[in-house]
């Protein structure tokens, strides 16, 4: 329950010490994460607008799905004014339970 806040930006952050390279994040959030040759995630540090719901949901899935609990969706406090956002609908692919 609650208000869905779509203002602001988020970044998916990984704690490299906890991360053991299971690679679940790359499957759960393919638009945000790709893997290097050793299987560790490469995540862009560019903030993503919260309005991009598909990405945000994937980020939350990746956060929850990490076996080492190494991922964290961080809200960016002072977002730059959003000018040109390409809105994407939530990806229709079934991923099991949809509740976050």
């Amino acid at each position: 329950m609650g208000v869905i806040r779509r203002a602001g930006m988020f970044v998916l952050q990984v704690n490299p010490i906890l991360c053991d390279g299971f690679g679940h994040c790359a499957e759960l959030a393919p638009e945000l994460v790709h893997l290097d040759e050793w299987g560790y995630p490469i995540i862009s540090s560019e903030p993503v607008p919260m309005a991009d719901i598909g990405s945000y949901e994937s980020a939350r899935y990746a956060e929850r799905g990490c076996p080492r609990q190494a991922l964290h969706v961080a809200k960016v406090n002072n977002p730059a004014p959003i000018t040109n956002v390409t809105m994407r609908p939530p990806t229709p692919v079934s991923r099991g339970r949809r509740r976050l």
Partner: protein
């Protein structure tokens, strides 16, 4: 009182024995013109001497606004195998460092000071122990000073690893998302400063900012302790005025003054080509060349040496010194070392290896918890750029004479007892 414009400052009155407290007070007699320590520190523009070159006053102001049981940590670990400056400073003028630490403690309101010296140097540990003991007999007020002796490793001198050791007896770097991040022992905020920075604070607290700024450049004031190693008969530590041309520093250290290249800032630093040696040695002149003074290391590579073979040795050792906490560092650095070895061997595989090196550098950069992998990436990138001609020769199957002769110049600790080394 030490006159302005005069060197040595930090090594004033130095002999081959540590200065006793009485002698120290005689040499560094206070000038009594300092009223507000914090104002003097920010006016002095002192940059940290541990490698990052962060303004010390900003750090102090950050810690001042914190609450809790605060600590000051003096970092005398000397992680770089090419450096000797902290050890030299602590075994000649230990009281100057401790004075500076006490001033920092009074500025932020800390109740304890922890001096950290690697246990692999029993002489230095002994000297610092003596100095602390001498002080304890003299004054009963003020913050208590403890000596801590973590085992020596490259990353054990990194500030978060050091605080982790003090907090939990593990010399491993910590994950710090979002900077500035305040390190803590238990719940108490910690101010970590290099031993040389503390010694400079000790001088500023005595003689003031104006006195301090009589040496050095406008943006990087003061004097710096430089360790010169490599192609030199005897590795030496000397205190120089910031802004001195690098060639002059090499000449006064007695090193080769027309080398192939010099490595600045330690094994996480970058190379300066031999034809640019007249650059002044200070951050404001070096930063356009994407170099920095770093921890004050100048490693001299003579003309007869093979830069790529030396780079391989250094990177192999740095890969071994990784704490193996983060994947990109634990797997990436050995991969870089292997690529460099392929380049050294030359031949057809080498061409692919050079391309792979550049690509892997981009992949590894910025993905560790500490800056260790970033330093190695900087070193590899600058080696590939500076020794481009060398690499071409190797790839054409005509390695330079330096690669064929087995003579090596950079000091790298041996890796023979690899499996004996364990993380405490």
């Amino acid at each position: 009182m030490i006159e302005p414009h005069v060197l040595p400052r930090l090594f004033a009155g130095a002999t081959n024995r540590p200065l006793s407290l009485a002698d120290h007070e005689e040499v560094f007699r206070p000038a009594d013109n300092v009223t507000n320590l914090l104002d003097e520190l920010s006016a002095s523009g002192l940059l940290g001497r541990g490698g990052a070159g962060f303004p010390t006053s900003r750090k102090v102001e950050l810690l001042r606004n914190q609450r809790g049981h605060k600590y000051v940590v003096v970092n005398g670990m000397e992680g770089e195998p090419a450096a000797h400056k902290d050890f030299r400073l602590l075994s000649t003028n230990p009281h100057l460092v401790l004075d500076g630490a006490e001033m920092l403690a009074s500025m932020i309101g800390a109740s304890r000071i922890a001096v950290c010296v690697a246990r692999d140097n029993p002489t230095v540990v002994h000297h610092v122990e003596q100095a602390i003991h001498e002080r304890a007999r003299r004054n009963l007020r003020g913050p208590g000073i403890d000596l801590h002796t973590p085992p020596w490793r490259y990353v054990a001198g990194e500030e978060s690893a050091l605080v982790h050791w003090l907090d939990d007896n593990e010399s491993l770097p910590q994950y710090r998302p979002g900077r500035p991040h305040i390190l803590r022992i238990g719940r108490g905020p910690v101010l970590v400063d290099n031993a040389e920075t503390c010694a400079n604070v000790g001088l500023i607290g005595r003689y003031g900012a104006q006195w301090f700024r009589t040496l050095g450049t406008n943006d990087h004031p003061g004097s710096v302790v430089v360790s010169v190693t490599g192609a030199i008969t005897r590795p030496s530590v000397l205190e120089v005025n910031l802004g001195t041309p690098i060639r002059a520093i090499l000449a006064s250290a007695g090193a080769d003054t027309s080398p192939q290249a010099v490595l600045l800032g330690g094994y996480g630093g970058a190379w300066l080509r031999g034809d640019q040696l007249d650059t002044p040695y200070s951050n404001d002149s070096l930063s356009p060349l994407s170099l920095s003074v770093g921890a004050g290391i100048i490693a001299v590579l003579p003309r007869q040496a093979c830069g790529i073979a030396e780079a391989h040795r250094v990177v192999r050792w740095m890969a071994h010194e990784s704490a193996r906490q983060c994947g990109p560092c634990a797997f990436g650095l050995p991969a870089l070392a292997e690529d460099l070895l392929t380049v050294v061997r030359g031949g057809r595989d080498g061409v692919a290896a050079v391309a792979r090196l550049r690509e892997r550098c981009g992949v590894i950069e910025g993905r560790g918890a500490c800056r260790h992998p970033d330093g190695v990436v900087r070193f590899v990138r600058s080696s590939v750029d500076v020794f481009a001609a060398d690499i071409d020769n190797h790839l054409r199957g005509a390695p330079c004479a330096g690669a064929r002769s087995q003579q090596r110049f950079l000091t790298v600790p041996s890796l023979e007892h690899e499996e004996d080394l364990i993380w405490e």
